[in-house]
Symmetry: C2
Subunit: 141 residues, 2 copies
DNA sequence: TGCATATGATACCATTATGGTATCATTTGT
DNA sequence: ACAAATGATACCATAATGGTATCATATGCA
């Protein structure tokens, strides 16, 4: 079971990379160079992030992307939401015949608890928390 | 993100149904009748559970399946393991260039924590815990 | 003994999600 | 004007999921 899919992953890496860049804008080429992500796929992802308001784009020569939010305000949970939809673990195990009394269903309760715990753990993972902090070299890849 | 896939779900329902049955063996026909699961798919699942040692099968007229373990010893986690493989949330976000220092990666730690919590919540979900207990009608479906 | 009824084994198929390409249009610095 | 960048969009390949189809084998019973 993948909690984080490829596009979310790539988006996260790209955002971290842009956040760490000294230049005011970062081009796709620079990111491809650094992250080794397939160029057209990365472009699609960045365009999406732009539409979602996480990036600002600059067209034309010397163009590229820059963050439109402080790295502290870019949450992994938002990326997951964008690329994978809302984190819903399981609506109900009994798909067709829905539980007559969901509130009393023990499994349903446990799934809800797991979801809650998961969100709680992920909620303070931001781009900021992944870069620079203690100079973690792994996130500069 | 689905924590529980269709076959795991169906297997769980079937096992609960067999556990609740008064008869010594339960036929596929009876289960199809009760659970409204596509017959050939259910057969495949039951054959799998038989191979895995969770069910005993009886061929021929009047045949069917019965539990080979006490419902208390049939864990949802085992079903998940059988049908979905081991519950690994994410080996590593950076797929190709693996972290030079995994132990220091904050995201990796969080994913491990989530996995741990998830297992911890699920580990006492057994067939027994889902049937009869307080006569929950929803699990008799 | 023979047959209906049940599971065992296995191969195949349809749909969807994921991961990725390809192409052309538009903007912009020089 | 032109090269260098992104915007938009349609398409494609692979794998996972969910499901079928078919034939072989075992068994209870008339
Ligand atoms: S099975 Fe639907 S909520 Fe319990
Ligand atoms: S990114 Fe691989 S363990 Fe942190």
């Amino acid at each position: 079971m993948k909690l984080i899919t490829r596009d979310t992953d790539y988006a996260l890496r790209a955002l971290c990379s842009i956040a760490q860049s000294k230049a005011p804008v970062t081009s796709v080429s620079a990111l491809v160079q650094e992250l080794q992500i397939p160029r057209p796929f990365l472009r699609k992802i960045l365009q999406c992030l732009n539409k979602e308001g996480l990036l600002v784009s600059y067209k034309g020569k010397g163009g590229g992307f820059s963050l439109s939010l402080h790295p502290d305000k870019i949450y992994l949970l938002d990326l997951i939401s964008i690329f994978q939809g809302d984190l819903k673990l399981n609506e109900c195990v009994f798909k067709k015949q829905v539980c007559p009394n969901k509130a009393r269903c023990p499994l349903s309760k446990k799934l809800a608890l797991i979801e809650e715990q998961t969100v709680s753990v992920l909620k303070d993972v931001t781009v900021q928390s992944l870069v620079n902090e203690n100079q973690r070299p792994e996130y500069k890849v």
